[in-house]
């Protein structure tokens, strides 16, 4: 199997530089890194990819069993490192990909030089004292809404919702955007992402990690970023002034500025 084609892997930047691997979170494809990557290409060998079932990946490679847990996705990360024969990498993961990077680093610590977690959450559901940001009912409703295709998740429903017959370009716009998703795979990925619990895994990560937490994030609230930082044995926390869940889109300069000193430190 061609791993690089399967995960729509792109390689750019300095061929001899230390490798950085950018992994997108749930929702969009690797082009969401477009404002960050140029800042690193002069010094680093920059690798970006799409998870199987999203973006430009090979959808036919999607295997519901393999991707029933985040381990399957972590396995893909290691396969990509193998395929490119990369020395220890700086892994930059957004949202759920932060946890995917953590799982991969636990399995093959030697493969990882640093982890950068953008808006990570080991668990989205509140649990006793733990604040995840969502009640169990919220997540149930989220998954149910995915099931019933009410929201604009679905490429299949998108033409109905958006596509006035006289304005077909509207339906095209979302489904052709970088946030397009196979509805069935998106539902499964959401299930894996939002019902998982990786809190104990954080304790096992030995790789030095930078946690980037936005000031106001509806998906991963500040408490979650603090929790991640507390649990990781070797981590730094930077709380960005940026709001939302995608600082690499909304505040790329601030994000880059937060990453560079961490990467420069040896």
């Amino acid at each position: 199997m061609d791993i690089l084609a399967r995960n729509n892997v792109s390689v750019s930047g300095s061929p001899d530089g230390p490798p950085m691997v950018f992994a997108p979170g749930f929702g969009c494809d690797r082009s969401m890194w477009r404002f960050l990557i140029p800042a690193f290409e002069d010094k680093y060998r920059v690798v970006a990819f799409d998870h199987v079932g999203t973006g430009g990946s090979d959808i036919s490679a999607y295997d519901a069993d393999r991707y029933a847990t985040l381990d399957g996705y972590a396995d893909d990360v290691l396969q990509i490192c193998d395929a490119l024969d990369l020395p220890p990498v700086i892994f930059v993961g957004h949202s759920v990909s932060s946890m995917i990077g953590a799982l991969a680093a636990i399995r093959a610590p030697a493969r990882f030089d640093r982890l950068v977690m953008v808006g990570p959450s080991p668990r989205y559901i509140d649990d006793d004292d733990y604040v995840g940001g969502f009640s169990a009912a919220d997540i149930d409703e989220l998954l149910a809404s995915l099931d019933s295709n009410y929201l604009g998740w679905s490429g299949a429903i998108a033409p109905v919702i958006m596509g006035n017959p006289d304005r077909p370009e509207l339906g095209h716009e979302l489904t052709a955007s970088f946030c397009k998703n196979d509805p069935d795979i998106a539902r499964r990925f959401a299930q894996v992402t939002f019902t998982g619990d990786n809190r104990d895994d954080l304790l096992k990560v030995t790789t030095p990690t930078l946690v980037l937490q936005c000031d106001q994030d509806a998906i991963a609230p500040r408490e979650v970023g603090m929790y991640v930082h507390d649990r990781l044995p070797d981590s730094e926390l930077v709380v960005l002034r940026a709001t939302g869940h995608c600082p690499h889109l909304s505040a790329p300069e601030e994000t880059i500025a937060a990453m560079k000193p961490f990467l420069a430190r040896r």
């Binding site: 969009c28 969502f134 919220d138 989220l142 929201l151 919702i161 889109l249």
Partner: protein
């Protein structure tokens, strides 16, 4: 204010606040900085409750996640999103389906701002859901159509329908019943979500006159019942029940029952259910025709096979045994054949469970059934008409017998369905075939009778034929025995060794015969003949030829004259019109042999010095082939046989073998006969027959007569000849 704008129409403020859509502005991080009155009216929030909050906090959790993971990235990179379906959580917690347009723009003051318009999409959402449902329904119909097209028999059509319905969300219980061939019973063919037992009352209630189900079937229109409206509720009384007739060729052939928990069924759902039922009706009808064609072909094959199998056996008992073995278990769980002329016991009986066979026979023996008892074997025999009882209720067992052990036995046999078939042949009834099904899953219905009676007639004819064969064979073999086993002359001057072997596996005896008698005190006559034909006719002809030969020969007229007079006789006897005959007169004192062979193979002479040769003289055509009787003067051979010589007379079965010339057979005979000359003469004929058959089975009768000439000197002495020595 712009002076060109007619302020008396409406102000910009009014336009904003009371616009026909919700309107909201937010900072790039999503904090709401302005909201219009329309949105506040729709959602029930106070303005202060919205300002300062993030836009996403107004959304349902799903919408919030979707906005953060999908929409905000798009707003940030592309500047706008359009017509996104979301749900706003109102002040009272209700959800308002909306369509959202948003664009990022720079205000005159130079600030980035996100403008969001919100359209009430409640009706549209309902319409979309309806579209989705329709699409789901259409997909369901397509699936049902496809799985039915792949179904080759009624059972798999039923499974396809029920599986599809059971897989649909609001359906809890469903069942499908088809009218049986009598049209009076709804036969339950499958259920989902309930057991067959629980659904049973449903299928019986359906046939009650005036019931909703009966009405649905008689009108061909579906009925939808609210909980409690039907007495037979498919085991789910708290559910809504749909009763949909299955219609094929404008006739209701069955009923589909569907219980579901939803409080009502939309017109679309009803239509879909109706469409599925229509497809199912047609598919079942098609599958039934295919089933029927298959069944007919199978039955034709069965009848042909049955006929062939019965023909393989010969006796009445064997054929009856084959017949019952053929129908059990293929058609019935047990079967008996009774032929009153042959005694009160069944001629044959078979039961699916061997251990129940003898008790069954005992039960039959004890029960005194008469033609007045309805549906009995006796009645079938008396009327010559098939008797059928499709459903035997268990209560009837007690009418049949009051003895506890018999009752217990009946319960074990558990007859559920019964047919008594007369065995008819050539216009009369030879007996009856009784078939019983003990299994509830199958039973006899009047539609089965034509096929079953065809089989019974076939059995009747086979048994009748066996009876005729048997009586004919008895007569003809008696006749032949009387002809071949008569008392042989006992004279020390010539000894006889004889053997007759009928062809193996033949229903009818053949036409070979022999005879030997004295003509006066000094001459021995030996006759070996073969009448063309088999069976009773041939046996009669043999008898006549034998008597005629003897009567003519004993007048002492001699070989030639005997043949001449026999020829006259033969034309009178139709059955013996073609016959071969070897006839010889041996003068016991001189050893002189005079013979003639009418179409018969030549006698073999074994001399005392150990040589063998055929006596080729005295040859002529078979009896009954010449037109001009007067012209016949048959050639007579003569030969003096020395004392110690042996003459062997035989029929063609001894020397003829398929694929050989007659010379090879003769060669084999002389060789094997010589090999036997050292042994016992008394068994010589039998030994020689056996020797001739040593390397190939017989395919014809074998008849062989050996005459050992002892000579006049042997009258008062024990012969020193080795041939007579016995051990």
């Amino acid at each position: 204010m712009d002076p060109t704008e007619p302020t008396e129409v409406e102000t910009a403020e009014e336009l904003y606040e009371d616009a026909p859509c919700g309107y909201l502005s937010a900072t790039p991080d999503g904090t709401v900085v302005r909201v219009n009155g329309t949105l506040l009216r729709w959602t029930g929030y106070e303005r202060e409750a919205v300002l300062g909050r993030t836009f996403t906090s107004l959304l349902s959790p799903g919408g919030r996640v979707y906005f953060e993971t999908h929409l905000r990235p798009m707003l940030q990179t592309e500047g706008h999103v359009r017509e996104i379906a979301l749900e706003v959580v109102c002040a009272d917690g209700a959800r308002l389906p909306v369509l959202v347009n948003a664009s990022t723009t720079v205000t005159r003051a130079g600030r980035d701002i996100v403008r969001i318009t919100i359209l009430d999409a409640s009706e549209r959402r309902e319409y979309e859901r309806e579209l989705l449902r329709t699409r789901t329904d259409v997909e369901q119909l397509l699936r049902v159509t496809a799985s039915m097209a792949a179904s080759v028999d009624v059972g798999s059509v039923v499974d396809a329908v029920l599986d599809e319905l059971a897989g649909t969300a609001p359906v809890d219980v469903c069942a499908l019943g088809l009218l049986d061939r009598t049209g009076t019973r709804l036969e339950l063919l499958g259920t989902r979500g309930t057991s067959a037992e629980d659904a049973d009352p449903w299928s019986s209630e359906a046939m009650a006159s005036g019931s909703a189900a009966a009405e649905a079937m008689s009108t061909g229109t579906a009925r939808f019942l609210v909980p409690g409206q039907s007495t037979a509720s498919l085991g789910a009384p708290d559910r809504m029940l749909a009763l949909v007739p299955l219609v094929a060729r404008d006739r209701s052939i069955g009923l589909l029952g569907v219980a579901c928990s939803s409080s009502s069924r939309s017109a679309d759902e009803r239509r879909t259910l109706g469409a599925i039922a229509k497809l199912a009706g047609q598919a079942i009808d098609r599958a039934r025709l295919a089933d029927l064609a298959r069944k007919n072909a199978e039955r034709a094959g069965f009848l042909a096979e049955a006929s062939r199998e019965m023909e393989e056996t010969q006796t009445v008992a064997d054929r009856a045994r084959r017949a019952v073995d053929l129908v059990v278990p293929y058609l019935a769980d047990y079967a008996t054949i009774e032929m009153p002329d042959r005694g009160p016991e069944p001629v044959a009986a078979a039961h699916r469970e061997a251990r129940l066979l003898q008790p069954l026979i005992d039960l039959r023996r004890r029960s005194r059934l008469t033609a007045d008892t309805p549906n009995t074997v006796a009645r079938a025999i008396a009327t010559g008409q098939p008797q059928i009882l499709s459903d035997i209720p268990e209560a009837v067992y007690e009418d049949y017998t009051s003895e506890p052990d018999q009752l217990e036995l009946l319960r074990q046999l558990a007859p559920r369905s019964y047919v008594g078939l007369p065995l008819r042949a050539r216009g009369h009834v030879v007996g009856a075939l009784m078939l019983v099904c003990a299994d509830r899953s199958r039973r006899f219905v009047p539609d089965d009778l034509p096929f079953l009676q065809t089989f019974a007639d076939q059995v009747g004819l086979a048994l009748e034929n066996a009876q005729l064969y048997q009586s004919e064979r008895t007569i003809s073999s008696t006749l032949q025995r009387s002809m071949t086993a008569g008392v042989l002359p006992d004279d020390p001057r010539a000894r006889l060794s004889v053997s007759y072997l009928p062809a193996p596996g033949e229903m009818q005896i053949g036409g070979d015969w022999y005879s030997s008698f004295m003509i006066g005190p000094a001459n021995l006559a030996v006759v070996v003949g073969d009448v063309v034909g088999r069976g009773l006719g041939a046996a009669a002809a043999m008898g006549q030829l034998r008597s005629a030969t003897r009567a003519l020969a004993q007048t002492g007229m001699g070989v030639a004259a005997m043949f001449r007079d026999l020829e006259r006789f033969v034309v009178e006897v139709e059955a013996a019109q073609v016959a071969t005959l070897a006839y010889a007169e041996l003068a016991l004192d001189t050893g002189e042999l005079r013979w003639a062979c009418a179409g018969h193979p030549p006698p073999l002479l074994l001399t005392p010095d150990g040589t063998a040769r055929f006596l080729w003289g005295g040859r002529s055509l078979p009896l009954g082939v010449q037109d001009e009787i007067e012209a016949i003067e048959r050639e007579v051979g003569t030969e003096t046989i020395p004392a110690g010589g042996i003459v062997v007379f035989y029929t063609d079965g001894v020397v003829e073998r398929r694929g050989e010339t007659i010379d090879e057979g003769l060669e084999r005979l002389s060789e094997r006969a010589l090999n036997l000359t050292g042994g016992s003469f008394d068994s010589m004929a039998a030994d020689l027959c056996a020797a001739m058959l040593a390397d190939a089975p017989a395919d014809d009768d074998l008849c062989l007569v050996c005459v050992s000439v002892e000579g006049a000197g042997s009258v008062s002495a024990v012969s020193p000849n080795a041939l007579t020595a016995t051990s």
